[in-house]
Symmetry: C2
Subunit: 236 residues, 2 copies
Amino acid sequence: MKTKKAGLPVYQSIKTEMREWIQTGIWETGSLIPGEATLAKQFGCARATVNRALRELAEEGKLDRRRKAGTRVITPEGRSVNFEIPRIRLEIEETGAAYRYALLLREVVVPPADVLSKLEIPPELPTLHLRCLHYANEAPFQYEDRWINLKSIPEAEQEKFEKISPNEWLVKHVPWTDAEHILSAHNADAEKAELLSLAERDALFVIQRRTWRKENLVTYVRLYYPGRFYQMRTIL
Amino acid sequence: MKTKKAGLPVYQSIKTEMREWIQTGIWETGSLIPGEATLAKQFGCARATVNRALRELAEEGKLDRRRKAGTRVITPEGRSVNFEIPRIRLEIEETGAAYRYALLLREVVVPPADVLSKLEIPPELPTLHLRCLHYANEAPFQYEDRWINLKSIPEAEQEKFEKISPNEWLVKHVPWTDAEHILSAHNADAEKAELLSLAERDALFVIQRRTWRKENLVTYVRLYYPGRFYQMRTIL
DNA sequence: TAAACTTTTTTATCAATACAAAATCATGGA
DNA sequence: TCCATGATTTTGTATTGATAAAAAAGTTTA
């Protein structure tokens, strides 16, 4: 049963062999597979090695493991897909285009209701509101509408954000621990259409992001991209 | 330096402590951190345990490890975000709505140029083309435009796809090994608007997916969702 | 000086063993 | 029959010890 691929770590070749067994149906979905001890004997290796292979396959969502209950093959309910959301400046400069940032609005106000519900703050609490545009070769590439919780980040009130974009400032000054992303598609209203040099009702690709440091919500941002151009892609 | 949280595995508590050090800047980004042997001595545990903690933090993208070069803290270039793309039927039934599937078109034709380039097949090769609608409580929820490579999956030509949706059939019959996803926003043309009960030019959330089995491309699908309603969300 | 080797450091993997924790299964009593 | 409980099995974690592999740093040679 041993398939020693030259140079490959043992636990790796065990993983690929098991993946094969799962895909070809040698190990049927839903069925119990042999225990670690048995497999270790079959593969002629230590249990710890089999354990690592099985553990990582479980992390990949191919196996379900429970103490005493054993390990079984599972059919994934959905597909787990990993996307990279690049920093806007890098995203633009990577294409060779020149990056420019412009601040459109900076105010400290009480947010409207729809934003309030996202911010997890008591109503009436003034919050830093920023609107800015990111250009690629002088063509508008992303419109950013951001709220920063001054209770979490009081230092932000001192920053003008005229030279540095909120994102870069935050990355530099505020280490975050958790984030939530929501992707959706919307029609551009008149204001956004003009800012992004689009026609009204053109499709926008929208990323909403909330960022926390420990328990405190730091910032809520809506990023608008012209939908025709923007694509997020991934290969598993 | 030990912070033994009751019940937690040692490597876990080491991980959370190290995460802390990274976030608070005790370990500066870019800087070299102590070697495994040193850390093991500090934590009063075996080197293998420290190794597991470091390895997993590296997998999470917080550390960069190289033999001989040591381990250093890295600033992530972008954010890696994991989304679950659920199977459409489950997605609908989970909300309590009734699911219905309807086949609109089934033909074997030579694909148009834009699809050809995605399919990685020689031109003039007839391919199975399917269009279908997925309803939630009789309201159209997703429009699916799919191409299936008959060279990879000749069995598909025998299937009518009147009762079972292409996705469910494929999941059942064709184990896949790789997939590529592209997300974007588009304006609905007249045809799609009518199918999805939308106004023309309404924003659509579009998922394009290509699926391979080993080296062979199996299927290319475009999934259209009404953008106002559809949201993909994740919490890291 | 520059290229080719060698040394050495550091991480990567593996094995063998031990104990912990969880969950099933069987057993016995109410 | 049903529930509680304890034995047993299986995975999870940790330790120790050892070797392999990678790559930087140093050394030698042409």
